[in-house]
Amino acid sequence: MADDTQDNKTPQDTPKSTPESSVEKKVTTPTPDSAPEKPAPKAVAKPKPPAKPKAPAEPPVAPSADKLVVSSSPHFLNDESIPKIMHNVVLALVPAMAASVYYYGLRAVLLLVVCLVTCLVTEHLFLMARKRPTKIYDGSAAITGILLGLMLPPGFSIFGAILGSFFAVAVGKQLFGGLGYNIFNPALLGRAFLMATYPVMSTSWMEPRTVQAAVDAVSAATPLALLKFEGEFSPVLNMFTGNVAGSMGETSVIAILIGGLFLRYKGYINWKLPLGYLGTIAMFSGIFWLIDPSKYANPLFHLCAGGAMLGAWFMVTDMVTSPTTPKGQWIFVVCAGILAVVIRLFGGLPEGVMYSILFMNAFVPLINRHTRPKIFGTMKRNSH
């Protein structure tokens, strides 16, 4: 501040100043409001010698001692930020986390905490190694951890969870260059990695606590597996509330919906993505259901089963790994939706959400490139 007062004053005294400065001085010596405040710093500033030589380089600021900032427009930005968006996503995941704790108890808490902490620590270590400022508070690594945790079977080993979380952040995100540069959704990549390294544990499920008390069995099959391997339909109402076997946070449709709608309300997700994905799943599975209802499940079942809801609201909508163009977003969700149903109905696996999204993630750069919006004023031939 003191330097500025000095700088502001000098240009007027220099001989080079434009002839108007004499007029200027008369008309515009300290503006009335700054007068009572400013004399003091000016007096202090004067004896300070180092400011002098610097003075000519500075633009001749107005005589009022206030500093003028110069920048290029726009000078007005909204108050969104990456941490704000990410923290809201974390908040939106709270119902799903609560549901997982309700159905699986302390086991769920343990797994979620392990995944969360591992992701944050990995992120921090990698950023340190890359000599970047730590950004673990921006919430993006936390989302990866929570999502991965929610996708694990409740009986999953702690060491496996640590390994998966490390892989998700290290390979899925940091090796690509960190936030914004990854091609694949890190949490899904971590889950796919665990699917390959722990194939048995990744597909062994247990009944939620609410059912365990009634039935005397711990291990169980998910509705999708029951359908695929036993040809047995599970009641959709149980799937809606989450009272079925499955990954900890994927089973409770209602909890995920609350979080997803919250994000939509906040404007952080484009309605096209979740609704397009779910809509495609419903329509495509509906075709087969209409052909043979005894063999294929109805669309509602497919919407509520497995990871469809969690994937639709929290993974398809991942900003970094989904297309940016309106047309591209449609292509992305429709293809992913069809793929998920195809894997569910005809693939070797009971569940296809994870691979459908990961597979389409790989095409996002290509989709973006070829679905550029038509620039305003681009005309069709022969039209106005």
């Binding site: 434009t18 002839p19 108007e20 007029v23 200027e24 008309v27 515009t28 503006t31 009335p32 409001d33 700054s34 405040e37 633009p59 001749p60 600021v61 107005a62 005589p63 009022s64 206030d66 500093k67 003028l68 900032v69 110069v70 920048s71 290029s72 427009s73 726009p74 000078h75 007005f76 930005l77 909204n78 969104e80 930020s81 990456i82 704000k84 968006i85 260059g177 960190g178 936030l179 914004g180 540069y181 484009n270 900003m319 970094v320 989904s322 297309p323 940016t324 163009t325 309106p326 977003q329 550029r372 919006p373 038509k374 620039i375 305003f376 004023g377 681009t378 005309m379 106005h384």
Partner: protein, 456 residues
């Protein structure tokens, strides 16, 4: 909802309440004015007076033969002090005429109502008066109005659109003009329509200015059929020419073309009011309404300022800047305004507002990686992909920059505004444009050199 508008765009905080209730008041007559010889798009003027000449208020003091130009008039009476380079609010130093006033005020009789019968004026006479009165677009771009009205042969203009959107945050000058001088605006509109032979007129006003819509409707009268008021959704940049034409008429100006290619001429409401004064009282464009606002101004106002009054003097009449800290003083509003390095720059014909910002908004922001959230794609009124253009501009991938439509950018700033990573997208796009132009220039120079060498 349901109101007419264009696609995409943003909803910034408008902050118009600071000045929207303040009636237009004339600013104190300045003792000295600095009148730049370049206040319009096109060829700069040359001075018609020299140092020491005595000039009268409203006297033409600069002009040029070129077609795209507008003469400049003395905004106060007095003596020409000098003609020299002065800082211009748009950034560079420009030859300017400095007049020291004698304190005399000329009475133009502008409150006398209509004095001329519009039916008696020929379109040619209207255009000539507009040209000779030095009227340019008063929304900011400063394109000479008479040139707009001179449609090239083979082009038919059927519609005049009057721009009363005023979509820039903080600014309220047009709002006040529509409220207080609705009759002038409507009369000026009719003059414009006659001047160009357009049968239809539309006045586009955003729905955050309900009182202005009412005032204009009242001025039009119930039996008016040729001019329609169109209520538009409040959205930035509604006032951008191409967006306004799309919103009001559902016509799209083709890429690289002008509004007149779709038979439309767009003018600002302030311009229409100035045309009224010029045709009725022979008053050239020597003063304009300037909104002085922003969170750094003590008493926001709408002042009627003489062209050439310094920002400093005007800010002083609004109680000055608030105490302490740093300020960003803009010629225009916060979305497209140009930050000033000094406050002794003059108000020019295109200065619709002086916005002084302080505090958090002007702190330099650190930017982060792009998370491809597509906010900018969803905001860009030109349907560009700003996040890519920004990268191409920044990384100097100029072929890609051109290929992805860098030069279609209208620099409205929506992309930078919405970016959650605070990436300076528009600034990078400008950089890209600059580099492309520099390369073109360098190539031309090289070609010339080669030509000279081969000639030898």
């Amino acid at each position: 909802m349901g109101l007419k508008t264009f696609d995409r765009g943003i909803h910034p905080a408008y902050n118009k309440e600071l000045a929207s209730s303040k009636a237009i008041t004339p600013a104190a007559l300045p003792k000295t004015v600095i009148i730049p010889l370049r206040q319009h798009a096109g060829a700069p003027c040359t001075a018609l007076v020299k140092k020491g000449d005595v000039v009268e208020e409203g006297q033409k003091i600069a002009d040029v033969e070129a077609f795209v130009s507008a003469p400049i008039h003395a905004s106060i009476s007095g003596k020409v002090k000098e003609i020299d380079l002065y800082q211009h609010p748009v950034g560079m130093k420009v030859p300017s005429i400095v007049i020291t006033g004698d304190g005399e005020k000329k009475d133009w009789g502008t409150s006398g109502g209509v004095t001329v019968d519009l039916a008696s004026l020929t379109p040619d006479a209207i255009r000539t008066t507009i040209r000779e009165s030095g009227i340019v677009g008063m929304g900011g771009a400063g394109f000479p109005t008479a040139v707009k009205l001179n449609a090239p042969k083979g082009k038919k203009i059927d519609t005049i659109v009057l721009n009363g959107c005023e979509c820039e945050p903080y600014l309220t000058a047009d709002h006040r003009i529509m409220l207080e001088e609705a009759d002038k605006v409507v009369w000026g509109m009719r003059a414009l329509m006659k001047g160009v032979g357009a049968p239809n007129g539309f006045i586009g006003i955003e729905d955050n200015k309900k009182d202005a819509i009412e005032a204009i409707k009242l001025a039009l009268g119930p039996s008016c059929t040729d001019i329609k008021v169109i209520e538009l959704e409040t959205k930035y940049p509604q006032g951008a020419e191409k967006m306004l034409i799309k919103a009001a008429l559902n016509r799209k100006v083709p890429k690289g073309k002008l509004p007149l290619d779709v038979g439309v001429v767009v003018n600002n409401v302030g311009t229409a009011a100035a045309i009224f004064d010029a045709l009725n009282y022979g008053k050239p464009l020597i003063e304009r309404v300037v909104t002085v606002s922003g969170n750094g101004i003590k008493e926001p106002k709408n002042l009627l300022c003489r062209i050439g009054t310094t920002f400093e003097e005007i800010i002083k009449q609004c109680g000055g800047l608030k105490e302490g800290g740093e300020f960003e003083v803009l010629n225009g509003g916060p979305m497209m305004g140009i930050a000033q390095m000094q406050l002794d720059v003059p108000v020019i014909k295109g200065t619709s507002g002086i916005t002084a910002l302080m505090g958090e908004v002007i702190k330099p922001k650190k930017y982060d990686a792009c998370i491809r959230c597509a906010s900018c794609v969803e905001a860009c009124p030109m349907a560009l992909m700003p996040y890519r253009l920004g990268d191409y501009g920044n990384m100097q991938r100029l072929d890609d920059f051109n290929g992805w439509g860098g030069f279609d950018c209208i620099e409205c700033g929506c992309c930078s505004y919405v970016c959650p990573s605070k990436r300076p997208l528009l600034q990078w796009i400008r950089l890209g444009k600059l580099r492309v132009r520099q390369n073109q220039q360098a190539q031309q120079e090289q070609a010339q050199l080669a030509e000279q060498a081969s000639a030898k």
